[in-house]
């Protein structure tokens, strides 16, 4: 199927700024779904609020655009009701880890079979450039005009600590790797987390003098390295990308089916 066939053209043009990385994420995600040959009727996309959340409107799946931070809670209800469906939850960094942080760690802890894609542009874009929990110490934003004194989460460490059974990181510069990782994340039976570093030239880039979209993407090439690479050992400041965790663990919906069997027997 052509990528175009996964899109709702009625919804276009999209609302993202020129140079925004979210379109690249959409592209990689659709290619992953195409590679897996998933039926459109078998995919449910649930999103919250923010630039990233608008991705759900553009795709021709069952799409649920919910409230800020709670996408994973809605997705949990859908998945528990219909474990046969593929649940994909794209979220921004603020959506997933500030207002939605609690739901994120608990979904990871349950190991429910949902694919969470955290589109990390280190800023609240839709409201005009306020710092997020991933902006990082020393960075500038409209609500940290002097400098940001909030330290950032490390999404990967957080997801691992919370118990996610698949954890990966990639960037918009590494679009082919992103497709590959998202594909594996969807296939993985359990809670999977994919952090994608994605550029916001309009707010984060401009405020922090990181240049335009092209410069920001090139920077992803320079500041990241494959997990366990020689470069990583020599320069611990580099951000590792790739699959950090991929393990088999009891999945929540399957576990609940066992509860049902127990309850029916004991009735």
């Amino acid at each position: 199927m052509a990528i175009k066939d996964y899109l709702r053209e009625r919804f276009f043009p999209h609302m993202w700024c020129p140079g925004c990385g979210h379109g690249t994420v959409l592209n990689s995600m659709l290619r992953a779904i195409e590679n897996l040959a998933l039926e459109k009727n078998d995919v449910v996309m649930v999103s919250g609020i923010g630039c990233s959340a608008r991705i759900s409107g553009y795709v021709d799946f069952h799409t649920l655009h919910t409230i800020h931070g709670r996408a994973l809670a809605f997705a949990t209800g859908v998945k528990m009701s219909r474990p046969d469906l593929n649940l994909i939850v794209p979220m921004g960094d603020g959506d997933a880890l500030a207002i939605g942080g609690n739901h994120f760690i608990h979904a990871a802890r349950r190991n429910i079979d949902i694919t969470a894609i955290i589109m990390n542009n280190r800023i609240y874009g839709m409201t005009g450039g306020q710092f997020s929990p991933l902006t990082g110490y020393g960075k500038l934003a409209t609500t940290s005009p002097y400098t940001n004194i909030d330290h950032a989460f490390d999404t990967v460490s957080l997801a691992i600590a919370a118990g996610a059974s698949f954890v990966a990181r990639t960037t918009t510069y590494h679009a082919k790797q992103m497709t590959d990782i998202i594909q594996k994340a969807i296939q993985h039976k359990g809670f999977s987390v994919v952090e994608v570093l994605t550029q916001c030239p309009t707010y984060f880039g401009r405020k922090n003098k990181e240049g335009g979209a092209a410069e920001m993407m090139e920077n992803y090439k320079n500041i990241t390295t494959p997990i366990g690479s020689k470069a990583s050992r020599e320069n611990p400041d580099l951000i590792e990308r790739g699959i950090f965790v991929e393990k088999e663990m009891p999945e929540y919906c399957s576990e609940y089916n066992k509860i049902i069997q127990k309850a029916v027997k004991g009735k």
Binding site: N41, T63, H65, R70, A73, V78, M80, I259
Partner: protein
């Protein structure tokens, strides 16, 4: 045959009624005095192949059941004041997206943590106005376990009929008190199933295009029709829009589908109203004391009557006006500072004849409490 007569808490009666109504899915978070609902659900739901989820908070609980409802399930959550406050945003989402669900609030004393194990009816106005933006809401209540059973089934029926969240405003007394419950035979109380679309696969389905009667046939999420659901103002496709005509049309639809059907939604009970010169208006556990007093005074020849409201929102102004038209005094009995009193004053022709008998100290309002107020109003002294 299984014994269909039980001696149970109101919270358990609520669970049995929800199962009778066809509940498939419950998500909740422990909070006094509603916790027994979650506990019984955890036992009962998997026995029939249903799903029980304990979520990380009340926000997630309501969000999860909304997601589950969209796939075609009948769903419920239960909480108390602080949890109900947390649910307000997601409640608005369910109203906007027209997703059926039932939310139980076993009220306790507030504000804030308040009085977790004491009696109060302080959330009645929050039920009406808690979530932001103009909206309509359905809120029901009951004063005894048999009525609570029927009203809980009714809550599910109304949620499906009007595609809206329905609030069940119980209180600590009805929730925790034990009394006799007779479980009706299947079919004894009618059950409303979800209205599903007859649009076939491959044919355009408009998820948000109401039929002529205002109802919206649903397509199960994950089924043959793919569509968008959003809390933004949306067109008939479920796509976001800020077109003023569509925005106005959707808001009117959300208000009118409930506002125009108050006569169908309103449930109430009346006792000795025909010749009553003094009418007590009450609801929930307060109505038990009110009824006790009315029965007592009738035996002594006093012309007292009781109008027990089971539908609190939309407020049945017409019914209250009509029933209270000939009364000399109207006494609203409730455990708050007059949240339904205000509506009764609006409803009647002569608001000066409406008085309040309340208690807001966490203690249950007794027949004596009501009688003392009544004597003052009637000029008999305490």
């Amino acid at each position: 045959m299984k014994n269909q007569i039980k001696f149970v808490q109101g919270n358990e009666a609520c669970v049995e009624a929800a199962l009778y109504a066809g509940l498939d899915f419950f998500a909740g978070y422990p909070i006094t005095p509603s916790t027994e609902i979650a506990e019984h659900m955890a036992v009962r739901l998997p026995q029939i192949g249903g799903k029980f989820l304990q979520m990380e908070d009340e926000i997630a609980s309501l969000c999860a059941i909304i997601g589950a409802s969209l796939t075609g399930n009948k769903v419920m959550t239960a909480t108390s004041g602080p949890g109900f406050s947390l649910m307000q945003e997601a409640l608005g989402y369910a109203i906007m997206t027209e997703i059926p669900c039932v939310i139980v609030n076993v009220q306790r004393g507030g504000p804030s943590t308040g009085l977790p194990t004491h009696a109060s009816q302080g959330d009645i106005n929050q039920a009406r106005w808690g979530t932001h933006g103009d909206h309509a809401i359905i809120a029901l209540t009951a004063s005894n376990h048999q009525d609570l059973f029927t009203i809980t089934v009714e809550a599910f029926n109304l949620a499906e009929t009007y595609r809206t969240p329905v609030l069940l405003m119980l209180d600590e007394i009805t929730g925790h008190m034990r009394e006799r419950l007779h479980i009706p035979k299947p079919g004894q109380i009618p059950i409303v199933s979800r209205l599903k679309t007859s649009v076939k696969q491959g044919v355009d389905y408009h998820p948000y295009l109401p039929r002529e009667d205002g109802r919206l046939p649903m397509s199960d999420f994950g089924g043959i029709h793919r569509y968008n659901v959003t809390g933004l103002f949306h067109d008939m496709w479920g796509f976001p829009t800020d077109n003023p005509q569509i925005v106005h049309g959707l808001l009117r639809h959300l208000l009118d589908k409930i506002g125009n059907n108050v006569h169908l939604i309103a449930k109430y009970k009346e006792f000795y109203l025909e010749d009553a010169t003094t009418i007590l208006v009450s609801y929930g556990s307060s109505a038990r004391s009110a009824l006790h007093l009315v029965n007592n005074r009738r035996n002594r020849g006093e012309r007292l009557g009781l109008l027990e409201l089971q539908t609190l929102w939309p407020f049945p102004y017409g019914i209250v006006r009509e029933k209270c038209a000939n009364a000399r005094h109207v006494l609203v009995v409730e455990m708050n500072m007059g949240q339904i009193l205000r509506e009764v004053k609006i409803a009647v022709e002569d608001p000066e004849k409406v008085f309040l008998a309340n208690r807001v100290d966490g203690m249950f309002i007794t027949p004596t409490d009501i009688r003392n107020i009544l004597r003052l109003i009637q000029g008999k002294g305490v």
